[in-house]
Assembly symmetry: C2
Homo-oligomer: 215 residues x 2
């Protein structure tokens, strides 16, 4: 059975992992006959947002502890990730990818990628294993690779960043997967587009299915 590492970035679309994308990624992996292990960095979130009002809350939360809510406690700190133990690596979306796993949301073109995330991605890339990213998560890959091809749906802001980093931006519709066959990188828009939850399930399943072909 092929084994996926799923990197979570918190628990909630505005300050962490997009919950529906994360759950539907796990469902797609299980449904298509593979297994998964969740990971998240053991660090404080950039901030905590009230998901009802969008306002910042005077709290501190830990990315690993909050991500554990999605994984029902079955999660490992990202620094324990070993590429040799996995066949594929995937990032569900959510602003946690742009606030916790990278600094794109508040540093834009000058953003950095969390060292443990960069290490995991590059180890999988060097082993020629598939790496997937949905929603806003492709900004992480766009910062780490050049001459590649990514989608974040029809979003102009992340699309412009992807191009500035020396990559091609390909607009994509619901459920479509943009594939860089040279580097084995897979991206799909999910909630970067206004979508129904069934469209998210379709996107995550298409992404995982394409990744499994090269895993």
């Amino acid at each position: 059975m092929k084994k996926f590492a799923v990197i979570l970035s918190g628990c909630g679309v505005f300050d962490g992992a997009e919950i529906q994308e994360a759950v539907l990624t796990l469902l797609a992996i299980d449904k298509l006959g593979a297994t998964y292990q969740c990971f998240a960095p053991d660090m404080l979130q950039y901030h905590v947002l009230d998901h009802l009002t969008g306002k910042e809350m005077p709290e501190k939360r830990n990315v690993l502890i909050e991500s554990a809510r999605i994984a029902r406690g079955k999660i490992e700190p990202l620094d324990r990730f070993k590429a040799g133990e996995f066949d594929a690596l995937v990032f569900p979306g959510g602003f946690g990818c742009a606030k916790n796993l990278s600094t794109w949301a508040y540093e834009g073109d000058r953003c950095t990628v969390l060292p443990s995330v960069e290490k995991a991605v590059m180890a999988m890339f060097e082993a020629k294993k598939p790496i997937g990213a949905m929603c806003i998560a492709p900004v992480i890959l766009a910062k780490l690779f050049k001459g590649s091809n990514f989608t974040t749906g029809d979003d102009t802001s992340s699309g412009s960043f992807i191009r500035k980093m020396g990559n091609k931006f390909t607009p994509a519709d619901h459920g479509e997967v943009v594939i860089d066959r040279v580097r084995n990188l897979f991206t799909t828009p999910c909630y970067m587009l206004d979508a129904t939850i069934s469209q998210i399930a379709e996107g995550t399943e298409n992404l995982v299915r394409e990744m499994l072909k090269t895993a």
Copy 2:
């Protein structure tokens, strides 16, 4: 299109709504051609648990605000629920059902059900509309009804409570739905059994499909 009200009890299996069950309930509703609106009570959670260690955290969180993470902000306070606007009512599981929506987890047989939850359930019942509950959520219905028939999988503790409240407890396996056709009540085990995420998707879909037949 049939419209479901989905009552959430926080965000995380140990102190709130079971995230995977909640998301897969929304997916099942959308996939089967109905629509949904999420609700949660605007109140403090009973407590906050670290989902990595299981230990209590010295924090306070609000059930509605945390539930909004699952619903991507599209959620209403439960006291705004109007039975006339919906065709069906469903409770995903998670200990939030037994700690926030009712006090079953810490008061057992002497537990109470949150007034806004009781009001919503009884209004739907009086309108002869289907009510569904998964995982541990059937303890709420068991407290409010007598002579009914419920499942919580093979769990002896909640099974014994269901019987003490004057109802029948029917053990059930993955994906099975126990139906009380007289009262239009639907229950399924989900994570009360050791399950894969695909089995949860099957359970939520079977529950929603059965509910839609009478909605």
